[in-house]
């Protein structure tokens, strides 16, 4: 190193006034920074026009920027392959899974700098409109961008999380209605009946605990555990009653009946407290799943993709119901959404991609891992699943029925219910506390986070 410096010294010509030049540079940098700081994100409004229900940016040629998670990367790549003429810049990110808030963080920075927004974004969360509308990021879709005829193709209620005051701000990618996944081979071998009620489910769990210890009736260690079990049980933990209002009651009978069922099965070890995606579950428990209540995407993403369960074993039954309940209700875990940026300078290309990615049979019907939110694509998807021969029974009837049974009392607020549950209830569960005993603390935590996001909370 020393040698090199000496050589440089010998070779470089004399440069007087270096100090002053450095000072000048420093001053220039400073004033630049100051200018940027005081800019207050004054975006150029040149050429913008009010159209399709929002103020559009000046349109231009250029690459269409698409943000997707790793699962939806296939969709963007397929579109690029089918439309080689469209210039695309495909970016993968975490898809905001587990309430990571990546998109919101980035958009808030882009809003500050006045540039950088992606044209189309996939999010695995379905509550993005709760902040994205307010921050001016999402474009209204049913005010001219996408014809009503196309929008009518979505399953009833599928776009409810995307609708704010009658205006549609995103498109649902997939439905995530919960059903009961089970190992048909083991059930037959052991002579068990698939439970139709939660009472039967619990009784079977107690039987399995003595007859086949180590085997699982389900898993309760995920961030979305409340969305599988407590949502299906009509627990009013997340009743969004207005744009900034929520009613929280986690100690009603609807909540405690499910919580104590979970407690019973956790205690006799037929209910795992590990996340189904954890290395621990994959290593020790994935081969011991007798049944597992879970969303429609468990089949492809979990059993086929992660656990690599053999073909012809996994079957689907309707979600168990409480015998006292008259109307069936199921939960829902996610079901991603596609957002279109109101700042997009390539609205035509963006709308074309958005329409294709949500409705096309080529992607939604044949490639997508989850149950498509568009009814026509869902038909193709179900037919495809049936013909793949992976499942032990016909999954069409239970999945189609469950799609219309998602309990509507659980809303889509800005605060992440998954994050609140993970931080409040999961550590206690790991430490051996009962879920019933933690329901009040869960309620307090939900109320706190809701208030921090400016919600009016009724308890």
């Amino acid at each position: 190193m020393k040698l090199r410096i000496n050589a440089a010294v010998a070779a470089s010509p004399p440069r007087p006034r270096r100090g002053r030049a450095a000072l000048l540079t420093a001053g220039a940098v400073l004033s630049l920074v100051a200018a940027a700081a005081c800019g207050n994100g004054s975006t150029s409004t040149g050429g913008s026009a009010e159209k399709d229900g929002f103020k559009q940016a000046a349109q231009s040629e250029g690459a269409l920027t698409v943000w997707v998670d790793s699962t939806r990367l296939a969709a963007a790549q397929l579109y690029q392959k089918q439309n080689p003429g469209v210039k695309m810049d495909i970016v993968t990110y975490d898809g905001d899974s587990n309430g990571s808030n990546y998109l919101q963080t980035k958009v808030s920075l882009f809003n500050r700098t006045g540039s950088g927004w992606p044209d189309v974004v996939f999010s695995s969360q379905n509550n993005e409109t709760s902040w994205a509308v307010q921050s001016g990021f999402t474009a209204p879709l049913n005010k001219g961008l996408i014809p009503q005829g196309t929008l009518d193709g979505w399953a009833t209620g599928a776009n409810a999380p995307c609708t704010v005051d009658g205006t549609l701000y995103c498109l649902r990618n997939d439905l995530s209605q919960t059903v009961l996944w089970y190992d048909a081979t083991l059930m037959k071998q052991w002579g068990y009946q698939v439970p139709a009620t939660w009472e039967q489910y619990q009784a079977l769990g107690e039987k399995v605990a003595t007859e086949h210890p180590g085997y699982l009736m389900g898993a309760a260690g995920d961030t979305f555990t409340p969305e599988i079990y407590l949502w299906a049980s009509k627990c009013g933990a997340n009743q969004i009653t207005g744009p900034k209002a929520v009613t929280v009651n986690t100690t009603s009978a609807d909540c405690t009946r499910m919580a104590s069922l979970l407690d019973t099965l956790i205690k006799n070890k037929t209910m795992s407290t590990s996340s189904v995606f954890s290395s621990d579950f994959d290593k020790n428990e994935a081969g011991k799943v007798l049944m597992m209540p879970g969303p429609s995407w468990y089949g492809g993403a979990l059993f086929q993709g992660t656990f690599k369960t053999a073909k012809g074993r996994i079957a689907v039954a309707p979600m168990p119901q409480w015998s006292a309940d008259s109307a069936p209700s199921v939960g829902n875990v996610g079901g991603g959404t596609w957002l279109l940026s109101a700042h997009s300078a390539h609205l035509k290309a963006a709308t074309a991609f958005l329409t294709w990615v949500t409705t096309s049979d080529d992607y939604q019907g044949k490639v997508a891992p989850g149950y498509p939110a568009v009814t026509a694509a869902a038909k193709t998807w179900l037919a495809n699943q049936a013909s793949s021969g992976y499942y032990a029974n016909d999954i069409t009837a239970p999945l189609t029925a469950a799609a219309g049974q998602v309990w509507s009392g659980w809303g889509y607020g800005q605060f992440s219910q998954e994050a609140v549950w993970a931080a409040t209830v999961t550590p206690g569960m790991t430490a051996g506390k009962s879920i019933v005993s933690m329901l009040p603390a869960w309620q307090t935590a939900i109320a706190n986070y809701a208030q921090a996001d400016g919600y009016k909370v009724t308890q």
Binding site: P14, R18, A26, V29, N40, N101, F277, S278, A422, A431
Partner: protein
């Protein structure tokens, strides 16, 4: 490389201008000052401006500070950071001084070089990468040290990252990533202690323990204070460890754990940059006050 450019062409030119060493000193300091202004002073001023204004840029006094203090995550975050600091600072001072004294005693032997390299190695990884290494180490399903975790009674990642364990875990991660550099610095400082003094102590009959306690540690005092000031300021800004852990554990542990995370949440989740700035200004003040106390009490700037 700017440092090498100012150089004298000839002896005559050199006589007229400042000596080369002084001028290269200016260049070094100058480039540092530019960076300090761009990434230190200007953002600080910007944050202070945000902390005392609202979204409409109106002066609001201390209202942002009040909002932060009223938040339900605020007091727990202070507790978390305080507890973490206790573990982190104590372990840092005790182990860094202890290990560098040990290293110094081994000076004559061949292991010294290897050890110095080994201590420094983890520090060569970027902060986030070394935290990722730890996330693997702490998961009994994949950890190479799984037998140790099992021996301690932990079967799952969830059990390892129980809320009560977090201050110790974060201190361990921070020590592993940050202490190596300090050990090398302390070792350098130990080498600066005149051999005459050590020789005299030895002749007077001082053993290793007495030499360390009566001579080496008192002479290291300024370095220890310097380390404590920087470690304290760094420690109050705890962010990467809990943030990554929170992502790795899908939110089970580490969410809203530290004040810096709370500031981040205010800025990007609750869309309240002003309160976020108020918290960062508080962190700055605490760091400055503690540094001032340490400097004043230790006579850090006294000439020898």
């Amino acid at each position: 490389m700017t440092a090498v450019t100012p150089n004298a062409g000839s002896a005559g030119a050199r006589a007229r201008r400042a000596p080369r060493r002084v001028r290269s000193g200016y260049a070094f300091v100058g480039s540092y000052v530019v960076l300090l202004l761009a990434f230190g002073i200007v953002p600080t001023v910007y944050a202070v401006y945000f902390a005392f204004t609202d979204t409409g840029a109106r002066f609001v006094g201390l209202s942002n500070f009040a909002t932060a203090a009223r938040d339900f995550r605020y007091l727990p975050a202070i507790e978390h950071v305080a507890l973490y600091l206790v573990f982190w600072l104590v372990s840092l001072v005790v182990f860094v001084v202890g290990l560098s004294l040990l290293l110094h005693r081994l000076a004559a032997r061949g292991v010294n070089r290897a050890l110095r390299f080994l201590y420094y190695l983890p520090g060569a990884l970027a902060g986030a990468a070394s935290v990722m290494v730890w996330l693997f180490l702490l998961d009994p399903a994949v950890s190479p040290a799984a037998f140790l975790l099992h021996a301690l009674g932990y079967q799952t990642f969830g059990e390892v990252i129980a809320p009560g364990h977090l201050p110790v875990l974060f201190a361990m991660i921070a020590f592993w990533t940050g202490a190596g550099g300090w050990i090398v610095v302390m070792y350098g400082a130990l080498n600066n202690i005149s051999t005459d003094i050590l020789e005299a102590a030895r002749i007077d009959g001082a053993g290793a323990w007495q030499t360390a306690r009566r001579i080496q540690i008192p002479l290291l005092r300024k370095w220890i204070v310097y380390m404590a000031i920087l470690a304290f300021a760094g420690g109050t800004q705890l962010f990467v460890e809990p943030q990554l852990l929170s992502q790795a554990s899908v939110g089970v542990a580490g969410r809203d754990y530290s004040l810096n995370q709370l500031s981040y949440d205010f800025a990007f989740q609750n869309n309240d940059v002003n309160t976020a700035a108020a918290i960062s200004v508080e962190l700055l003040l605490v760091g400055l006050i503690v540094a001032a106390l340490f400097v004043a009490r230790s006579g850090f700037f006294d000439a020898d």
